[in-house]
């Protein structure tokens, strides 16, 4: 849908490790006709460093080399599990977890593709108030303003993926 497929690599390989440091690797895939898009340029970007989580649970094992963790794990039985969809400022997102040898090795925040159409804009000038047809449009944007969404979606999506994974 838009170039914000965000892959979260977890340094702690267990669920408990979620509260630790997360290194995210944004892989940007330019998509035609995206109704919304992430700010940072369509170029492929790489994780350059890790940062401690804010809630005091700082960096238990920042030993993970960012560049190494950005690369895909090579051995072991790897399975991915997709959670339910939820909405974010960047549109609908789904949490996908990767489990290797019984431990979660990766959380991905994946964009959920959606239909997109663009209508022409009709507008005419008025003194104070300009009326126009309500129309959807496609454009590159940095962020989205809209009705409030909740953090529940993220948690539910993650939990449903964990449930599927049996973790």
């Amino acid at each position: 849908m838009r170039p914000l497929a965000t892959s979260v690599l977890v340094t702690g390989a267990t669920l408990a490790g979620l509260s630790g440091v997360l290194v995210l690797n944004r892989t940007s895939a330019p998509v035609a006709g995206a109704s919304t898009a992430d700010a940072a340029s369509p170029q492929t970007t790489t994780a350059s460093s890790s940062a401690a989580g804010p809630s005091g649970s700082a960096a238990p094992s920042s030993a993970t080399s960012p560049s190494a963790s950005a690369a895909s794990p090579s051995t072991g039985t790897t399975t991915t599990y997709a959670g339910s969809t939820y909405n974010t400022p960047y549109g609908p997102v789904q949490v996908t977890i990767t489990v290797r040898d019984g431990s979660m090795t990766e959380i991905s925040l994946d964009q959920v593709p959606s239909g997109n159409h663009s209508d022409q804009i009709n507008s005419y000038a008025g003194p104070l108030l300009v009326e126009e047809a309500l129309s959807a449009q496609s454009a590159q944007v940095d962020t989205i303003s809209g009705a409030t969404y909740t953090s529940e979606g993220f948690r539910r999506s993650l939990e449903s993926a964990l449930t599927k994974a049996g973790l």
Binding site: L22, A47, V141, T143, G146, Y149
Partner: protein
């Protein structure tokens, strides 16, 4: 429902336009996204972590003081009558913040002819909407003070920006279609400005028309760009109540503009300034 996620990921990304950091904070019953851009300077991990930690601590403090969902908050004390506005001590940090918000809400009620009225909600005074914007400004200022000059804070769809998204480029804010979260209906380009969008239904509650006590029906969605988020919140909420009659409230405020989707079933929208052919609105 009650368990709060412990996931606090910081996204680090690099592009030819510079370094960026994104941090997601589940708080205030929503999700707050800090999008920090440091240009060609990479930030040391410790300095970044300090800034983010301070931002999160500030947000938690705001929650502690203002949340109408927390029985221990100052706002809950006001709502229940355990605390009177007369008892607020301007030398107390929490009380001072509450006094500031109370004053701003009174001002907002006046400039919108009563359409914005946090006192006219079920259960008594609830400044949640205003506070969200106000608090984002507080957080933004703290981050700027720490040297992060380019940032965008998105608190569940209400946005505060400082500086630029990329060198020479404003932040491009898509306005969500009121009926379809996957579509945008408008792009607002902003720099050092805030964007707030209100709808008749938010977080399961509806905006009340203070004049009738019923659900507001002036707009399906009201977006306001303003120099500061508190004012954007006041005006966008008021426009959901007042609809087109509220255009003068926006026009009267320097640096403010609105984009409003009319109530269903009308397929029209209106704004307070012109639109170019790409659908991009520019600063008034």
């Amino acid at each position: 429902m009650t368990t709060q996620t412990t996931i606090d990921p910081t996204v680090t990304f690099r592009s030819p336009q510079g370094h960026g950091y994104r941090h997601i904070v589940p708080i205030w019953g929503t999700v707050v996204v800090l999008d920090l851009r440091t240009g060609d300077r990479a930030w040391p991990d410790e300095r970044l972590a300090d800034a983010v930690e301070d931002a999160v601590a500030t947000m938690r403090w705001v929650d502690d003081v203002f949340s109408s969902y927390l029985a221990t908050s100052r706002v809950s004390a006001l709502r229940s009558g355990r605390l009177s506005t007369d008892d607020l001590d301007p030398l107390d940090r929490d009380h001072a913040a509450l006094l500031e918000v109370l004053a701003a809400c009174r001002w907002g009620r006046q400039l919108t002819d009563g359409a914005f009225d946090p006192w006219a909600v079920p259960g008594g005074f609830d400044p949640s909407g205003y506070v969200k914007g106000w608090a984002c400004e507080v957080v933004a200022e703290r981050l700027v003070t720490r040297g992060i000059e380019n940032l965008c804070i998105n608190a569940g769809g209400d946005i505060v920006t400082r500086g630029q998204a990329r060198p020479g480029e404003p932040w491009r804010v898509g306005i969500r279609h009121p009926d379809d979260p996957n579509l945008i209906v408008r792009v607002e380009e902003v720099s050092d400005a805030a964007v707030a969008t209100s709808g008749p239904y938010e977080r399961g509650d509806h905006i009340v028309d203070p004049a009738t006590g019923q659900a507001a029906r002036g707009a399906r969605s009201a977006t306001v760009v303003a120099p500061r988020a508190g004012l954007a919140e006041i005006l966008s909420t008021a426009l959901v109540v007042g609809g087109r009659d509220g255009a003068p409230w926006v026009a009267a405020q320097p640096g403010c503009r609105a984009y409003v989707v009319d109530p269903a079933p009308s397929a029209t929208a209106w704004s307070t300034s012109a639109v170019d052919r790409r659908g991009v609105r520019h600063s008034a």
